[in-house]
Point group: C2
Chain length 99, copies 2
DNA sequence: TTATAACATTATAATTTTCTAATCTATCGG
DNA sequence: CCGATAGATTAGAAAATTATAATGTTATAA
């Protein structure tokens, strides 16, 4: 990786590095959801969700499809789901995470 | 993942989400290196490297072994290297990254 | 014992992120 | 057209990150 590539990679990682945004990715693993479903399930405000979804879209992690007055969000790159296993294992092994 | 786990995961991802820190992980894939080797190869200051290494250690990504006046850094969890392929592919596929 | 090489810490200014609250826009049903 | 629902945008304060510069610490070699 050259420096430019590392900078772009850092941007993508930053886009994931937030509890709400991780929650979105996790929920979307189950299939398309509307913005409202997402913020209700994650217990954050509508405004917060809208802002976080924008970040996820900008980094190509989520795509949005409009249907009437609603918008359906979907995972654009399911590869990133692998990351969750990796992280769970890491937390348990290296950071003494319990429960 | 519950919320606590998402918060901890976010911390680990943040620890990777920086060009210098990604560079460290990439270089360490090749084996142990001293701090000086790392900052020289990445072209950043010694102080910068020391601070970034601290972050990587705190999140369990890098371990440090002392030997005389030097310190040898190593990747603690080589699982994270998989991430680089995933990222390269993502950049090319979803973010139109060229070369 | 002193100079130096390797690394850590601290302080700080500049920039980014994060979160909340308020407002705006678009679409649909009636 | 009107009200309601779904979502976006904007503004701003607080907190976190980033980068640089200066200074501290420790171990070794001479």
């Amino acid at each position: 990786m050259n420096n430019r590539e590392r900078e772009m990679t850092a941007e993508v990682l930053k886009a994931m590095a937030h509890p709400v945004r991780l929650g979105v990715i996790e929920i979307l693993a189950d299939g398309e959801k509307t913005c409202t479903e997402l913020f209700e399930q994650l217990g954050c405000s509508q405004s917060m969700m809208s802002q976080q979804l924008k970040i996820l879209c900008q980094q190509g992690l989520v795509s949005i499809r409009k249907e009437g007055t609603q918008k359906y969000c979907a995972l654009r790159n399911p590869d990133f789901l692998k990351l969750f296993d990796c992280m769970s294992k890491h937390l348990r092994t290296f950071l003494h995470f319990k429960d």
